[in-house]
């Protein structure tokens, strides 16, 4: 498998996330799209991790190397951060709904002032 395929897949997923953020007004959907983008990056990191490991394995043999572990650790920590982020973000959305009885981000136009 050429690594290009994974790159393209990740880019497409990421851009679908971007389009979702741009075209929707529902704060929860936007939040989900952000998760989608995070996952696209995760996928790419894992793919690179595998490629990195494959190159190292050619030199040292498959059992002799742990190259690529770092990439997977990164993905792990990204998931950790994402979980924390989701908890805070959803709390914010709930509070927003409580104040405006809507999840429409266009109500959040206080930035104008």
């Amino acid at each position: 498998m050429p690594i290009n395929y994974y790159i393209f897949l990740a880019v497409i997923l990421f851009c679908i996330g971007v389009v979702g953020v741009l075209t929707r007004r529902n704060a929860i959907i936007i939040f989900m799209c952000i998760e989608l983008m995070l996952n696209a990056v995760n996928l790419l990191l894992v793919a690179f991790s595998k490629a990195h490991h494959a190159v190292a394995a050619i030199n040292a043999g498959p059992a002799g190397t742990t190259a690529g572990t770092d990439g997977q650790m990164f993905v792990f920590f990204i998931m950790v951060v994402a979980a924390a982020e989701v908890s805070v973000g959803l709390a914010i959305i709930v509070m927003m709904y409580r104040n405006t009885h809507s999840v429409d981000v266009n109500f959040l136009n206080r930035l104008k002032h």
Partner: protein, 165 residues
């Protein structure tokens, strides 16, 4: 075309399709469900890439915990397709064009990446929980402990924000 490749294409098609459905459904509940499918297919990719641990974590944390949280919130607010706010058509169009352009630009820039850097078809065991655990509790033990503090603070933050004034 071996099994891995067939699986890759199938999973890729499923991922992209379900992601597209996520952003096009009016009903947020459908979006959440399709997003779960996206995440599961991404977990399938992880397995193909010999990252078994991450695949499992992804299913448990993302497809399980996080998306359930989303569902809870949506249910809590009683959101449905009728309550869904609609964006201006032109703005939606502009958003699609902008996102498409971004994809085009990045793909065009990366299309000449050295195709020889293939991902070995051979398996590897670095993605197993044993190996990752060793690294996590030796090399990355400090970030791991700090991330527990992060969770604690996130929890406190969520409680404080969600509390009624």
């Amino acid at each position: 075309m071996n099994v891995t490749q067939i699986l890759f294409w199938l999973l890729s098609a499923l991922t992209v399709f379900s992601a597209l459905v996520v952003i096009t459904r009016k009903n947020p509940v459908y979006s959440v469900l399709w997003l779960i499918i996206t995440f599961i297919s991404i977990s399938g990719h992880y397995i193909l890439l010999n990252a078994q641990f991450l695949a499992v974590v992804n299913v448990i944390v993302y497809a399980g915990a996080i998306m359930v949280l989303f569902l809870f919130v949506i249910m809590l607010m009683n959101l449905n397709a009728d309550a869904e706010p609609q964006k201006n058509k032109w703005l939606q169009f502009a958003g699609v064009i902008a996102g498409g352009c971004l994809a085009l630009v990045i793909i065009a820039a990366l299309k000449n990446v050295d195709a020889k850097a293939r991902i070995a078809e051979t398996g590897s065991d670095i993605g197993l929980i044993e190996n990752l655990g060793k690294v996590l509790f030796t090399q990355y033990v400090l970030p791991f402990e700090i991330s527990s503090v992060l969770f604690l603070s996130a929890m406190v933050g969520a409680v404080v924000i969600g509390k009624k004034n």
